[in-house]
Amino acid sequence: MSKIKIKKLSVSYGNHQVLNEVSLDIPERQIIAVIGPSGCGKTTLLKSMNRLLDLNEDVAVSGDIAIDGENIYRPDIDVNALRKRVGFLPQRPYPLPMSIFDNVAFGPKIHGLDVSSLSVVSNKEREGKGNKGTQRLVEHYLRLAGLWEEVKDRLNAPAAKLSIGQQQRLALARVLSIEPEIILADEPTSALDPISAKLVETQFKILKENYTIIFVTHILRQARRLADYIIFLYMGDLIEHGPAVRFFGEPCDEKTKAYISGEIS
């Protein structure tokens, strides 16, 4: 079942063409790796899927992207609702300037997400007064991101005080808190130490049960370790895409072979 269908997607910044007529289908509930050399358009492809590209100046997008059959570049689409469905994890985690607790509670608050929609919240907590529900919600997502144990005693501390590895998992909790269907991750481990990177990778493997995870990486070994499906871009062109086993086992394209063997990077 394909979750996302991309048709003839071209993106340019001013006169600089970054993606050339990329067309592909992305499967559901898998980990998808977007690989390729620096400057090949990986991040651009990623940011086109939640329309974060819109924030750039002089960006031109043509072609279309459909998520569950709905074209997200339709003029009347609610971009904020789209971004709630398609979460984004940045390369360098910027905590929001608020407490650890509020970093996680912020997303659900703006989207008016009801705690009662969470299956982990018990009936009693649902009826409970005040913040009880939100507390449960924050705990739930911090656990899901593998951060709860480390921060449970200092939820009101500034998020900026966390280590960068913790900040990235906080960013993950923040993404999860808006209940997206798809998680986009832009080199999510590149700024992290090896231990934190491993923690994030482990969370990804757990999360793919329920989410479609698309991540950009320039580390081939990481793509091999994590991905079920590979998308290989080179200079803005889609060279090859397919299940990871086939991609690494029997690559079709010469460029893919060269990239896998490390001849081009």
Partner: protein, 282 residues
């Protein structure tokens, strides 16, 4: 190697001398004002308005100018803040194109560089046209005009320092521009915004020329926005110009009071700034 070391030392010396210059300036000003003014600074100076013959050295105080300055600044700072914050926020790239934002900055910088006497004359011309007398209201409006450019530009610099990636994070969660502005940008820029208010306050409270014609001067404490109002800078200006030594000393006392107000406000703002800085991301 020797040359590089020498270079380093020359530069270090230069920095130390300049730093000392800055501290010496403030210390010198406080000393001169204190030495010349302390003798005539007493309680009645602060709580009384000028009595008959005050300007010849008889009884009374400058409560009219102290209260007047506080009234003027309370009004002008509030008004300037209400105007400046939306302008500064609008200069972000989500709202205005870079071209138009830069043009706005140019306009503000020119306004900033305009001498305050020009603001005073401008305000006076408008007031004459409207048939208004010199008044608290007139003074507040002209001081607001004087303060807005510096307040906006200082806020703008603070807001521009908010990393774009941080805003991007908020937008990626599906926030609107307003939500991003209030939950992220204002929180992160808050210490800078406090500083902006203080900078503008400092310019406003010390300015004499802009309120000379627009606020006027009076020995009474105003009871309405349309009454004329005294102010500390003008109290200094008028008293220092009299031939009576006692009155001249009172000018220094007025200057001392003005300085103390500025120092106190700065300290309060610093404390507020620290409080707001708790959650900011460095």
């Amino acid at each position: 190697m020797k040359k590089r070391k020498l270079e380093e030392n020359i530069f270090k010396a230069l920095m130390i001398i300049s730093l000392l210059g800055v501290f010496a300036a403030l210390a010198g000003i406080i000393m001169v004002v204190a030495v010349k003014g302390l003798s005539s600074l007493n309680l009645s100076m602060i709580i009384e308005t000028p009595k008959g013959g005050y300007y010849l050295g008889k009884e009374g105080g400058i409560a009219n100018a102290i209260v007047g300055s506080l009234y003027l600044m309370a009004g002008a700072t509030t008004l300037a803040f209400i105007i400046s914050l939306p302008v500064a926020l609008a200069l972000q790239k989500e709202y205005l194109s870079k071209r138009f934002a830069d043009f706005t900055r140019l306009v503000l910088d020119i306004l900033w560089g305009t001498p305050s006497i020009v603001y005073g004359v401008f305000g006076f011309v408008i007031m004459v046209y409207l048939g208004m007398r010199a008044s608290l209201l007139g003074g507040i409006v002209v001081l607001t005009l004087l303060m807005v450019p510096i307040m906006v530009r200082a806020m703008d610099e603070a807001i521009r320092l908010v990393p774009f990636e941080m805003k991007e994070m908020a937008y990626a969660l599906g926030t609107t521009r307003v939500e991003t502005t209030f939950a992220v940008v204002l929180k992160q820029a808050m210490p800078g915004i406090v500083t902006a208010v203080i900078l503008a306050f400092g310019r406003g409270i010390g300015d004499a020329a802009s309120i000379l014609f627009t606020a006027g001067y009076t020995d009474d404490i105003p009871t309405s926005l349309l009454d004329p109002v005294a102010s500390l800078p003008l109290a200094v200006f008028f008293q220092i110009g009299t031939p009576v030594p006692e009155v001249q000393a009172r000018a220094y006392a007025a200057a001392l009071i003005l300085l103390v107000i500025v120092i106190v406000i700065n300290i309060i703002a610093r404390i507020l700034g620290w409080r707001f800085a708790r959650h900011i991301v460095r």
